[in-house]
């Protein structure tokens, strides 16, 4: 082959490889992005049905119930404004506790219960998953806003 044609073939080959890789990546990307929603957003019907997403907030105090099989648990995830019931079967992470931050991944059932396939709690006592922290902050802002417009308590939650 002549050098110029060779170089041409190399460039075409390289571009084809990059094209295939880009197609692969973008396709995988589209189908594997997991979005995050707060309980308030789920309550407002903003979360998708029939697609996995992440739900984060605090584990509501007193909401944790264990089924007799010892493995299935029910609890509610709250952002202090709204709370969503969650069921999960399997081992809970070490730092899962009532009143602490949590992020769960799963699907929303037709009955409004979130069926989690994964429960994440972070490996540091003082550490709140940022997504959970964010959900709380937003809910509190909304509360403060509501309180102000209704001329009720000057402060938000707590």
């Amino acid at each position: 082959m002549k050098p110029r044609r060779k170089r041409f073939a190399l460039i075409i080959g390289g571009l084809a490889m990059l094209g295939i890789a880009a197609a692969l990546i973008l396709n995988a990307f589209r189908s594997n992005l997991v979005f995050f929603f707060s309980p308030s957003q789920v309550f407002a019907q903003e979360a998708p049905h029939g697609r996995e997403f992440r739900l984060g907030g605090l584990v509501e105090q007193g909401s944790l119930k264990r089924q007799p099989d010892g493995l299935t648990v029910e609890f509610r995830v709250t952002d202090t404004a709204r709370s969503i019931p969650v069921t999960y079967r399997g081992m809970l992470p070490d730092l899962f506790r009532e009143g602490k931050g949590v992020v769960t991944q799963g699907r929303l059932g037709a009955d409004g219960t979130f069926r989690a396939t994964e429960v994440l709690a972070k490996h540091d006592e003082n550490y709140m998953p940022p997504q959970a922290a964010d959900a709380l902050k937003k809910a509190q802002q909304a509360n403060t806003q509501a309180a102000k417009t209704m001329h009720l308590a000057p402060e938000g939650m707590d």
Partner: protein, 660 residues
């Protein structure tokens, strides 16, 4: 007093780094031999002062000096002494000190093993390393000083994060950092080459061993980290595509491309610009890795620090290093010139294909890691990119790369023919196809995934044997002599490639055949997993030095024969009131039995996770083989000969070098 000495040493080291970063490079540019000669003593002096600082911090930890804020935050008087030492790098500030320490160790090594290098080259290489060190020392002194005092002193420390209290954590960060920081040498060589315009086979020969050693350390470091998460996090996963893991994996992918590209540059003089670019990328990704893990931008198990100021400093530092070196590259690379030409089918083109695949793979990991951060920073919503993304991108990208790994080493340089290669590899094809079709039946069920994995692995093994066989066949004399005549670097290559095969076997079989059962067990209950029977004999309370634990007893048997008794624990570390899961693992050549305790599920009952993990240790075994291959390659005679006969080598290489 000692912490102040440590602090002061860092300031002295900073000043030395300034000298080391400026004068030798300026000297090399202006031909001032005296300025150039400063490089070695400066690097050695810097090593001494950084080592003093490091020793001071270690002393503060070992002697429980809780008047030092960093010690009080990361240690406790009840912590066993080996973890008090490892706690030096258990947090943000200490990790940076470890980073700087490693950099000064590498610089010291360059001063010692560079007798055969021209003075200007040494001056530039050490100068660039001095500049990198300057950045880190400045960062430590301005934004994360490990010697900051806490007055009045705390009565006791807040303890080291319990999941870091593990032998693996004692060696994992130093190994990983040796790798990360080791790429700074390759980077410094690349920048020195751009500055001087000497970018030829000799240059590649000089920087090759450094790069390979760094790569081997990084390989071990990643394997240790993976093994650590396997047995410390307690859930039996060995790779989560966690951003912190990705942070170490990206430089590894680019570093792998770099060592192969360097081989071409040394042997054939080709790919020069590409090699330099890879060296810049590998180090940039190492810096990015440090930034990702240490600035607290990630939502991850490893994110220790949460101070955004630090993030901004490292971001600026990154911008200067990456932007500066790429600008230098854009300015100087056109003068580098092309190397030897090669055909569409040749060892060069095969290596180039794999290089591109590795870099694209690194790019896809980068995208998946940074995209959620970008969206978050721009307030466009919160998303996460899970393991399925990485799996579905990574496998299709690596599969052709692994096929080419079998072909590349036997293809001729410059020109090779496809029919000829096909004939030479026909037995390897047959064997790997047969084993892909049949072996899954022998081990368990036939599934496409297992079959495909075994196809790739046996392809690597078979083509490696073909390679060795052909090499020996063309030689004279008894077999033992023929074997002994092959250089270490050749065996290193074979070993590393076999390591990849071993790794693939591990990944494939554990993904294909692992069994995991979550069960509630009363004392006396039995459960059978993967052909083994586990009987739970109840849990007892035990006390450790700084924790209390419930320890379960499980007797494992197979076909009525006792195999092993396992003691998983659920610990509560008293200082931080943090529970951890200590899995009990029975390690074997062909399988691991993995037991971890969940929550109590009644008065005597516990939730248990019991797992059967076939061939899981092959994953790390493969990594160890790869790293050993790298080290074996560096032990090659020609690097040692090169030192002795450097004048001759330089003359020979000089003939083929391109004037700047």
């Amino acid at each position: 007093m000692l912490p102040e000495i440590g602090h002061f040493s860092l300031i002295v080291a900073l000043l030395i780094a300034l000298v080391q970063g400026v004068l030798p490079i300026a000297g090399a540019a202006r031909g001032n031999a005296r300025w150039m000669a400063l490089a070695r003593p400066a690097a050695q002096g810097q090593f001494v002062f950084v080592a003093i600082a490091f020793a001071c911090l270690a002393y503060a930890f070992i002697n429980n000096d809780f008047s030092v804020l960093y010690v009080a935050s990361n240690s406790n008087s009840a912590l066993p002494i080996q973890y008090r030492f490892a706690a030096v790098w258990g947090g943000h500030e200490g990790s940076l000190l470890l980073w700087t320490m490693m950099l000064s160790v590498w610089s010291l090594a360059v001063t010692l093993f560079s007798r055969h290098l021209p003075d200007a080259m040494v001056a530039r290489v050490l100068g660039v390393m001095g500049l990198v060190s300057l950045g880190f020392l400045l960062f430590m002194l301005l934004a994360s000083n490990p010697f900051d005092r806490l007055l009045p002193a705390a009565d006791d420390g807040r303890d080291l994060n319990p999941i870091l209290q593990d032998p693996g954590m004692v060696i994992h960060p130093p190994m990983l950092y040796m790798g990360y920081v080791g790429f700074s040498v390759a980077f410094a060589f690349a920048i020195a080459a751009l500055l001087s315009g000497q970018l030829d086979a000799t240059w590649a020969r000089w920087s090759r061993p450094w790069t390979t050693v760094a790569w081997a350390f990084l390989t071990l470091g990643i394997a240790l980290g993976s093994g650590w998460s396997y047995y410390v996090l307690g859930w039996g996963g060995w790779w989560f595509w966690d951003p912190v893991e990705n942070a170490s994996f990206m430089p590894w992918l680019v570093g792998t491309a770099l060592i192969h590209s360097l081989a071409v540059t040394e042997k054939r003089g080709s790919f020069r610009s590409w090699t330099v670019l890879l060296a810049i990328f590998a180090f940039s990704l190492s810096l990015l890795g440090t930034f990702l893990v240490r600035s607290g931008v990630l939502t991850s198990v490893h994110a220790f620090a949460t101070d955004p100021r630090r993030g901004i400093f490292i971001l600026g530092f990154l911008a200067i290093v990456i932007g500066g070196s790429l600008a230098l590259f854009a300015w100087r690379a056109p003068k580098v010139g092309l190397g030897g030409s090669f055909d569409l089918v040749s060892r060069e083109s095969l290596l180039l294909s794999n290089n591109v695949l590795l870099v694209v793979a690194a790019g896809s990991v980068l995208l998946g890691t940074l995209y959620p951060l970008f969206l978050d920073a721009l307030d466009l919503g919160k998303i996460s990119v899970g393991p399925p993304y990485f799996d579905s991108v990574f496998v299709p990208l690596m599969a052709p790369a692994i096929f080419l790994m079998g072909v590349g080493p036997i293809a001729r340089w410059k020109h090779a023919g496809i029919p000829e290669l096909a004939i030479r590899l026909r037995w390897a094809f047959v064997i790997s196809l047969l084993s892909a079709a049949l072996m899954p039946f022998a081990i368990g069920k036939w599934t496409p995934l297992v079959s495909f994995g075994l196809l790739l692995a046996t392809w690597l093994f078979a083509s490696t044997i073909v390679n060795l066989g052909e090499r020996l066949k063309n030689q004279q004399g008894p077999w033992r002599d023929r074997l002994a005549r092959q250089p270490y670097s050749y065996y290193g290559m074979l070993l590393a490639h076999i390591g990849v095969g071993v790794f693939i076997v591990g990944v494939t079989l554990v993904k294909g055949y692992e069994v995991e059962k979550d069960v509630r067990m009363e004392a006396g209950d039995t459960v059978s997993v993967g052909g083994y029977t586990f009987r739970f004999d109840g849990a007892t309370q035990v006390r450790g030095p700084n924790y209390a634990a419930a320890r379960g007893t499980l007797r494992v048997s197979r076909d009525g024969r006792e195999v092993r008794t396992l003691y998983p624990e659920k610990r509560l570390y008293t200082v931080q009131q943090m529970p951890t899961t200590e899995a009990a693992i029975d390690t074997g050549f062909t399988r691991d039995l993995y037991v971890s305790m969940g929550e109590p599920a009644g008065t005597t009952a516990w939730a248990m996770r019991i797992q059967y993990k076939p061939f899981v240790d092959w994953i790390w075994g493969g990594c160890v083989l790869m790293a050993m291959g790298g080290l074996l390659a560096v032990a090659d005679r020609r690097y040692r000969l090169g030192r002795r006969n450097h004048v001759k080598a330089a003359d020979l290489a000089g003939a083929s070098s391109v004037p700047p």
